[in-house]
Amino acid sequence: MNAARISLAIILLVTAAGIFSQWVAVHPHNLPSGNALEAPSPNHWLGTDDLGIDLWAQICHGAGVSVLVGVSAALLAGIGGSLIGMLAGYLGGIADRITMRMTDMMIILPDLPTMIVLGAFFGPGLINIILVLALFSWTGTARIIRSRILSMKQEQYIAAAQSYGAGFVHLAKTHFIPGVLPIALASIIRLTGRAIVAEASLSFLGLGDPTSKSWGLILNHAINFKGIYFMDCWKWWIMSPLVAILILVGAFAILARENETSAVSAFQK
């Protein structure tokens, strides 16, 4: 439980740094504030890039983008997937079959190449990235929720409610949503971590939104800088966004794992 609290604290800290990036960092994130490729110093905590822009400011600004993209894609996919899963489990029959075949297809599809193709065709932009990420991550949630609804439908209180004439909306409000909430929450935490990685990967390939500089985009700029291999600047220019991604993704992974273990042990009691 302790590890979960620490990782939650890290996630909140990163989010706060992203929201209040103007105040957390002294220097602007989009204007030069020093010489090019300065090493880390008390003035520039993480050094500067090839244009003399402070890296600490860029990391703080990028934290906002990463968390925004990750959380909104995960919320969209988690809520959408839960709804689809609930409907499929409740309705059964043809609707259920069609959704399950669709999730089968989405699971087989190699996701990163497909995301690259979609990203290339729909053009860069935060909203497009969020939509593409959500489109590719709702299936897992939908499947878990569906199977939970299927087992809930066997319970007698559902049958009793149905015999009084309860429809889907009423059942969902009073029974289904409270019943699946812990599972939905767990999968949203998992999805957030994965969406952050996916966003970093896409913008590392240069498919991100060029106007909102995320951590992946900083990496993309750094690796395309000629001479990065032969100078010392990679030690701060490459490593700081890389470590930032690692910390955030690691925190989400630990939180998800702890959450799942506590959910399982609560279930077994």
Binding site: P110, P113, T114, V117, V197, S201, L219, I223
Partner: protein, 324 residues
Amino acid sequence: MSRTIYKIAEYVLTFFFIITLNFFLPRFMPGDPFTFLSSDAGDVTVTCSQAQIDRYKSYYGLDLPLKDQYLHYIGNLFTGDIGYSIYYNDDVVRIIGNRACWTVMLVVVSLILSGIIGTIIGSLSAWFRGRLFDRAAYLFLVGFSEIPAFLTGLVLLFVGGAWLGWFPLSGGIRPFTEFSSVISRTADIIHHAILPVLAMVLTRLGDFYLLSRSSMLTVLSRDYMRTAKGKGLSKPRILFGHALRNAAIPVVTRLFLSLGTIFGGAVLVENVFNYPGIGRLMREAVMVRDYVLIQGIFIFVALSVLSMNLIADILIRKMDPRIG
């Protein structure tokens, strides 16, 4: 048997879904190729007259009704004609063929390595359950599996390649070199492939480790394991002769099923190391907006992942008759 046919039908359906998506994506986009031609790069403006646009539209068959275009597209696809790359001025199939062997080599080698190493560490871990080795291996491998391969690759590249200078910085083979023998050529290819493969193996290892560890724990608790111990067989023989044979089935199927994920990882890792495979080709095609090439690569990747999944499905049924 009917289940197998059903499964194959599902794959065929998925494949048709993919190629249909591939067909409709560029046609749903705002604009058409001629607006792109008219205002390329901002400074050079080529304006086409309406007559020219009409001529090219009929030349490329873009003035036909969608249904005819679609049938035409499917027909071309099945005769192996994916199209002609605008940027590279070459047949898409030939370009992909030149690059595919690099990616296939990376993917296959790292899959097999991570499967074997993961299974060995996983079985040892199950045998020494709860001891220091088990805990250390668990923490290390599961931790690494959460790190995306391209980040591991970046660290490896800059520490091993740029800083220590032990490994080449980019490419799949040293350019402009005459190799004296096949051995030195192979050695050079291996030298270039070590870091990319290592990055992918480190990321995949955790998956195989967890799978073989839990599968081994189940096998070790079975009665025939107690019999083997009672007979006084040596530990390695029990572990690798009796237990592993049963515990390896899920690992083998997972090898095929994780192909899609590892393809995605390879796309990124190739871009980190400038490796001359499909992944870098994909990024180059995206950068120069060579849509025909992007679509060709997409079909190639989807087709290979689909067929490997189908093989895995059939293999599971063959190896374990309990799954009907």
